[in-house]
């Protein structure tokens, strides 16, 4: 799939910022203070399973970040992902 789906893209203006402790899933998207929309994509990691759960690519505004995760979490104004390599935090440019 090349074209991002509508829900993956930021709204035209910043209408809300996702609260802390919201997690994807069960939420579909997380919107940060820069109006960036985070969600899980459709490309699986390896055979698609990591740590007993499905593992998908992490999208920011509909584009892959290069990382894969079971879940994405908003915590204390930070974006965290949990995937094959454990927890990582978004630094503004990459996940560490």
């Amino acid at each position: 799939m090349n074209a991002p789906l509508f829900y993956m893209l930021p709204w035209k203006e910043q209408l809300h910022e996702t609260e802390s402790y919201v997690c994807i899933p069960p939420a579909l998207t997380i919107t940060d203070e820069q109006n960036a929309v985070w969600t899980l994509g459709f490309n699986p990691h390896g055979n698609g399973v990591s740590r007993g759960e499905f593992c998908w690519d992490v999208l920011r505004n509909g584009k892959s970040t290069g990382e894969f995760a079971n879940r994405i979490e908003r915590r204390n104004k930070r974006i965290r992902i949990f995937g094959p390599d454990g927890w990582k935090i978004w630094t503004g440019r990459t996940f560490l």
């Binding site: 509508f6 996702t18 069960p26 499905f54």
Partner: protein, 170 residues
């Protein structure tokens, strides 16, 4: 790995309490393994809770099936062959329908009830052992459809998104 497809509904005005996205396996044909479902809206910035269900429905004839807009079944992997189910305004055997305006008269069976806040949307990703499998019915004149369904009407019906992701088995 089995081929994966998605049936998206993007940025539409929905019709009250009807199915948002519905699929039905072909007969004869591969069973469908549902591995993801999602719902969201961008028409309102007001926090509100919304119920959602994943349901199956037995439809004895096409005339009694879920009716809406023909869906576009998309490949996740571009070079895969097209899915065996295709879009139709009637979600009967081997069809996919979105933004349904009538849910027909078949009895719904709820597989997964849930609720979500409309500002965050809803994503259902089961563990590999909890995926939903749907296959064709016997006799071949009946169909089993699987749908994302809103049991109560949302406060705002504009700008809704929804979808199902499935694999064709066998």
């Amino acid at each position: 790995m089995a081929r994966q497809y998605i049936v998206p509904m993007s940025n539409v005005t929905i019709t009250s309490t009807n199915s948002l996205v519905a699929i039905s396996p072909t007969n004869p044909g591969p069973a469908l393994e549902v591995i993801r479902a999602w719902v969201s809206q961008s028409g309102s910035a007001t926090s509100a809770q919304q119920g959602v269900r994943l349901v199956t429905q037995v439809n004895s004839t096409a005339a009694l099936s879920v009716i809406g807009t023909a869906a576009t079944v998309q490949n996740v992997v571009g070079y895969d062959p097209a899915a065996q189910i295709s879009g139709s305004s009637t979600c009967y055997i081997g069809k996919a329908t979105v933004n349904c305006t009538s849910d027909g008269t078949g009895t719904k069976n709820t597989l997964y009830p849930d609720a979500f806040n409309v500002l965050n949307g809803w994503l259902w990703v089961p563990t590999p052992n909890e995926t939903h499998m749907i296959s064709a019915l016997s006799p071949a004149t009946s169909s089993l459809s699987y749908a994302v369904y809103l049991p109560t009407a949302p406060a705002t019906t504009g700008n809704w998104n929804a979808g199902l992701s499935f694999r064709e088995l066998g």
